[in-house]
Amino acid sequence: MQRTARIILAIIFAGLVVSPLFIKRYEARNNVAKTKLDLQTAVARHGFYLQEVSHAAGVNFDHQAPTLDPRLNHIMPQVASMGASVSIVDFDRDGWPDIYVTNSKEGSKNALYHNLHDGTFKDVAEEMGVADVNRPGFGVSMGAVWGDYDNDGYEDLLLVKWGKPELFHNDAGHGFTRVTDQVGLPPWINANTALWFDYDGDGLLDFFIGGYYSEDVDLWHLASTKMMPDSFEYAKNGGRKYLFHNLGNGKFEEVSAQVGINSRRWALASAAADLRGTGHPDLFVANDYGVSELYFNDGKRFHEVGEQTGVGFAPKSGMNASFGDILNQGRYAVYVSNISEEGVLIQGNNLWVPKESSAGDKLQFENLARDFGVEIGGWSFGAQFGDLNNDGTLDLYLTNGYVSLDHDKSYWYDFSKIAGGHSAIINDAKNWPAMEGRSLSGYQTKHVWLNDGSGKFVDVAQAVGVTDTYDGRSVAMADLWNRGVLDVLVANERGPLLIYKNTVTPENQWIEFELEGTASNRSAIGAEVTLFWNGQHQVQEVSGGAGFAAQNQRRLHFGLGKYPQVDKAVIRWPSGKIQTIDKPVPDQLHSIKEPA
């Protein structure tokens, strides 16, 4: 009897020991479409295909990284590893989206690609005065966001750097004037994230900047090599946060401490949306080396509720924050990217979905990234939600890859060794082993997750033409050629700006809304459109910056699927006004001005 039991036990034991192999196989089969397809087949099977067209579109932009203090030479590739960013703006109000891209080598130029309406772009940054912004001694670009701070109808440019942040006023689309000094921006911030929002609802756009390295660190002239994070997951020696309140006379007042934003975590991404239906945008900050922070905004003060809501409990390496109503429920989920490296570190990305029973001040989120199939994305960076195949549900594009150097040599072992060390060790750059040309999560394949609408995403990147393996940083989506589809732009570190032109099955219809505020800020940032069609509804909000160092087009794009019956679009303006548009016609862009 005992003998039989032992044999049975041994069989069960052997089965359990090898079970991870079967689980791996099962999960891979269900979540990934690995086969590369041609355009026709991909459109027939998945409803869309992304074709990389940057050169054909006249865009030949290569990001260059900075060269920092020589004492960082041994780990330079991983320290100087950010700065590629892309943001979408129609800077001259001609109705066609333009592209702004940052560069990060000392003396390098940023580019402003003007849309020529014929499928091509022309770099006009130099003549517009927003190219030469990386001069030695003033730091280098890390990201840019656009917002019309003086409500003159033209989007102004906020540039964040590891260095002096800059604000450029848009002179009616004919050029830009540097207004940094008038505005009163600090002399130096090492920031990777910023966003525009009207946090107090006064009709004037304010802006947030999240520091990464401490602002007293000049990365080109280090006072000390003790400038690295003091922990891999609990660091609190990063840069401070700034909230600039728009005073309406071309000046801003820094009010972060007054309104309750006090953090020295290492911010890498931020996004704002009204998560509780209060009419005030809440602020989400994804931090590297620590927990995310969520600030509820009551219109006057911010209250940090990360732990209370569940998003700020487990520390990871947050590098992205983007909102999307992924289940067409009229509520936003938040996607935060982290690090996953097979065999070393499996943080998993977070998809924070609001719990059904929670709302308002009691709002809580649960991480459903694994259940939804969007958890493992390598060393993940920028991500954006958007309906790529116009089927009526938001899909997710994620780029990744940290440092691609030697194909066959990995720095991960040394990285993991130092990452686990005490603060006295990890904090000092001189204790970090030399990279010596080794890669760190390099040459990674990207993820394009197609949403089936019922809580499952399938990775179709390879099938729909996304086959690049650059070190991706920033992702933005825009209908670049006014065709009713979302194209995808990806800024790569030490790599090219990629433009993925989207071909979508014509069976699926769409609708777009271009909003302009009157009582609200003119950019309409924070305005929310809820579209009701075919018995479902989806909410989207005009964003002043989201993802990683990125900004999508301000225009809101909804896919509708086949034969849509659109009931209405309800617009909630930042001023609080509610506007309903009955039966808006599909396959059209609707330009809507806030009613008086």
Binding site: R6, F13, A424, I426
Partner: protein, 284 residues
Amino acid sequence: MTQPSAVSRAASPNQQASWKRFFSPENRYLAPAFITCILLAGHLSFGILESYKKTGLAIIASLITELVLGRIFTGRWPNIASAYITGISVGILVRSPAFWPYVICSVISIMSKYVLRFKGRHIWNPSNFGISVLLFLAPETVATLSIQWGNYLLPMIVIWCLGAVIVWRVRRFHITATYVTCFIAFAFLRSYITGSPWQSEIAPLTGPMYQLFIFFMITDPKTTVRTKFWQCLVVALVALVEMILRLEQLVYAPFYALFLVGPTALLIEMWFDSRKSVPVRATT
């Protein structure tokens, strides 16, 4: 002012006795109490756990497996102290966004005690076996705790001191001390060989993963050899193999080193025992 002191002095012998009893080698609940303290202190201060659910799952899976298998194969309800340590070690050390690794790891850890036996002894430390298997077969889903619990020196010193006192009381301090000494010596040797800063080679030892490893895994009475000398030699060999694996850049070198060296040492000891016992029997 003196009264409390006098009272306390008067109560001292009793207190000392209960204190001693608690920290005695016979107290099977000493190690579980210590590891629970580490868990609670780490989590309440720094939120070290991925979630309560996952750690709870690991502990429950471990306890249930132990109770069921113990009942089936020994005919009585087993003491669950060691299964609790296994479950809590898995719950702390395994890092995975998924739930299943916590269950599978705990279950195969406990099962290994009943399946992988030689001459009536299990030869792998249960959690070392389970974690090593999972790290090897499911690297895309599973990693181990590899970061600090906060950055404060004081809690780390407290854990080290308390851990040292406990392993000393249970007469295992020499194992921990030998391993730590060898690790540090080999860290300097690695630094010399690879050219990496010595601080980066020492760094892993300052993390909580090693606190669990040196206080709970390598000192496991059931899977260590008998005599003090051989215990020290075996653990020095663990450190040596770990160094070799580290030179090959294996991130989980300590787990794999113990996985390889521990059972080998036990088998050799058993082989020696059997050789010794043959002539004894022949003469009697």
